[in-house]
């Protein structure tokens, strides 16, 4: 039974339906890891499928095998403790976004998730998938990086934790080996920081042209902590740690905000592509830095 024509001439010219692949749907982690151990180099892992299926449909990806891990038991747990959130790889984005405990402990995460596509997408997409896919325009890798999060990887041979700073190595490239599965991500709220997420896209829900995760910890008016992590500006999330350190101990006023934004504009080296030039992205990054830090300053004033 096939929805697609068997006529070879048509099949050869059709490039808007997926090419054939073998499909596995393990229900058990060991089964999934055994599949990756044997087929990892020719298989892709599917969790929510919201990034992968479009690639399959447009034949931009033509894997031999698709391993759907969304039914692997135990992979969708969501745990919130005093200041950290541990998200199982197949936990749906919408569930994390709407969870009251997550919102209380780590509000930057639901705020960032609100920028991921639309609710209909988030009903299926997974935080683990976003991290494993490592789209350079993606919000969640930047949140992970901004909060010094970690990624848990498992294979048939064992497990390891990789810090966000080491996990995202290039465009759609991560430290995950072919036989490994992202099983969970963990991130903690940096103490006393308030965060703002700002994304510039043509329409809300589109891929980011440029965006940032901005965190600030103030004592009186003195900066005790600063997080500046950008997405859509390079090969992956770009955190400007040296710039952050430069301003610790300084008084947080508008003059300083302008200086920080200037630093951002100078340090980022974003790509040019069909959506925006490098100069546009640099300028946008500086502008959203100013807007976001001003928003954090305003919040600080009203909350004391």
């Amino acid at each position: 039974m096939s929805a697609y024509p068997r006529n070879d001439a048509i099949a050869a010219s059709v490039d808007v339906k997926p090419a054939s692949f073998r499909f596995s749907r393990p229900t058990d982690l060991d089964e999934a890891l055994a599949l990756l151990a044997e087929h990892g180099d020719e298989a892709v892992v599917m969790a929510g499928g919201q990034s992968l299926t479009p690639l399959l449909n447009l034949r931009m990806a033509r894997p031999e095998m698709v391993v759907d891990v969304s039914r692997v038991s135990g992979l969708d747990a969501l745990a919130v403790d005093r200041d950290a959130v541990t998200i199982g790889a197949t936990c749906r984005a919408r569930r994390v976004e709407l969870d009251a405990e997550v919102r209380a402990v780590l509000p930057v995460l639901p705020e960032a998730l609100g920028y991921v596509g639309h609710p209909q997408i988030r009903n299926r997409s997974t935080v683990g998938g976003m991290v494993a896919f490592a789209d350079p325009a993606a919000e969640i890798p930047a949140v992970l990086r901004a909060c010094d999060g970690t990624v848990e990887l498992r294979s048939a041979n064992g497990s390891r934790q990789v810090a966000a700073t080491d996990f995202f190595v290039g465009v759609y490239q991560t430290a995950r080996a072919d036989d490994e599965l992202v099983t969970s991500v963990r991130l903690a709220a940096p103490p006393r920081h308030r965060f703002v997420v700002t994304e510039h896209a043509r329409r809300h829900g589109d891929f980011a042209i440029t965006g940032g995760i901005f965190g600030l910890a103030l004592e009186q008016r003195i900066i005790r902590g600063l997080r500046l992590c950008f997405f859509g500006v390079g090969h992956g999330p770009v955190r400007l740690e040296a710039l952050e350190q430069r301003f610790i101990g300084e008084e947080f006023d508008d003059r300083l905000i302008v200086e920080i934004a200037g630093g951002v504009g100078h340090l980022l080296t974003p790509p040019s592509d069909v959506h925006a030039s490098a100069a546009y992205r640099q300028h946008t990054a500086a502008v959203i830095t100013k807007r976001s830090l001003r928003a954090l300053a305003h919040e600080g004033a009203t909350h004391g």
Binding site: Y4, P18, S20, F23, D68, H118, Q120, I121
Partner: protein, 164 residues
């Protein structure tokens, strides 16, 4: 082709049970439209952006064009046609769309009705539905004005009491 390139699934669509064997690469949208004859499921962009293909999977609004049929094993699917019963009056949202001229060509309409009803029922606020939920649908005809009017008009009847 070998066996692993096929899937055998069982799913319920608008209350009717189907057992299907199809190629693993079959999209849920194509399974529903072409194999199972649910022509009310629209196919637009085929990469999850336009929203025309939106259906309910286990009560949640989902893009059927970026879900593999194999992932729908055991699922309860509701299409726009499943929201109305044969011979009965149009429910409030659908009625509001006709009264307030909320569609022109109608191609995006099925997806919008499904999304709005699923999200309203899940307890989302009207503001969120008018912004985020509707924002996930591209309409080239109407400019959204009458769509919003229709949703506003029907809101009290489609949202659970607590979320009014």
């Amino acid at each position: 082709m070998d066996d692993e390139q096929f899937v055998e699934i069982a799913l319920t669509v608008n209350g009717a049970r189907h057992e299907v064997r199809c190629e693993a690469r079959t999209l849920l949208s194509d399974l529903l439209r072409d194999e199972l004859d649910y022509k009310e499921v629209r196919v637009g962009c085929e990469h999850g952006v336009c929203g025309a293909c939106t259906i309910m999977v286990d009560g949640e609004a989902v893009r059927s064009c970026i879900m593999l049929a194999g992932c729908a094993d055991g699922a309860e699917i509701t299409t726009v046609a499943g929201l109305v019963r044969e011979g009965e009056e149009l429910p409030p949202l659908q009625r509001a769309f006709t009264e307030h001229h909320g569609f022109q060509c109608g191609f995006c309409t099925a997806g919008i009705l499904v999304s709005v009803l699923a999200e309203a029922k899940a307890g989302r606020s009207k503001e969120e539905v008018l912004a985020d939920t509707l924002g996930g649908h591209i309409c080239r005809c109407t400019g959204y004005v009458n769509i919003r009017r229709a949703i506003n008009a029907a809101w009290d009847e489609i949202a659970p009491e607590a979320a009014a």
